[in-house]
Symmetry: C2
Subunit: 162 residues, 2 copies
């Protein structure tokens, strides 16, 4: 898949079928997260990979709309220093989700509304906190074609000045 097609067709998808994600695919997803640039090349993001069903179920209790972590064959928690590096986390997240989608693996970011719950489940040190969790899995039948609408480009773009 070419890059622009991958970017255009990637949608946040919450329903997955039961297929396992092969280890080499998961490695490329993580490498993509690793390769994202970061401010001053500080590389603030760390990744906690969850594939165990009991662990995913536990983590899913930390978010309000997080049940799809359970059906996803893999979840990756992006962890950042307490002071926050959300823009870098977003760059890393997008890299991982695009690398996944290039191989047919769908994904969806999951907010951990109860941060202390996620902190405990993930066993994080006090210096760090979870930024976002990404759920990964092959899309369930019928899930590929339900795009969220986007605003027209001319409502988003200003030339030279707002």
């Amino acid at each position: 898949m070419d890059v622009y097609t991958c970017i255009r067709t990637k949608r946040d998808t919450r329903a997955y079928d039961s297929r396992h994600i092969a280890e080499d695919t998961l490695q490329r997803i993580l490498q993509a997260g690793r390769m994202a640039g970061s401010a001053k090349n500080l590389q603030p993001c760390r990744f906690v990979v969850l594939q165990d069903d009991a662990r995913k179920k536990e983590l899913s209790t930390c978010g309000q709309f997080a049940t799809h972590i359970v059906s996803a064959p893999a979840a990756v928690a992006i962890v950042v220093p307490q002071e926050g590096r959300e823009l870098d986390a977003g760059r890393s997240a997008q890299n991982m989700m695009l690398a996944a989608w290039a191989e047919g693996v769908a994904s969806c970011p999951v907010t951990m509304h109860d941060a202390s719950c996620a902190h405990r489940v993930l066993g994080l040190p006090d210096t760090h906190r979870v930024s976002i969790v990404l759920a990964f899995g092959y899309p369930a039948p019928g899930e590929r074609r339900r795009p969220s609408p986007r605003l027209p480009l001319d409502e988003l773009v200003h030339q030279e000045r707002w």
Copy 2:
């Protein structure tokens, strides 16, 4: 270029040659920003495109390491609501920079350390603030092969628990 290669080889690059970015390439870069997913599909990001030399020079005074905005043929300011949507801005930024790199256009995020300066130069409403500025341009000769090193993957990744 395939997606994984694009992700692996994209580096933040601050030196550009004088080539103009064609309008259709710039449109694809902006479309890529538009297509990034966002929390609850709120689509919080807006884009201010700067191509005028005087405008870019003015904006470059708002950051400590922002002089490469001047030599970049185009800059895109990502603007978010005051309450902040940095993770969504990061997703959008990465989409734009990857779509650009797929066509040979390099890029680098630029922090606006003086936010009120950027706010004034960009003419933003009080409801919004700049998240990051992306400089875009074809890499200057010799610039392609100076990668910032990345930490080994096994230092970044934890299995099941930190």
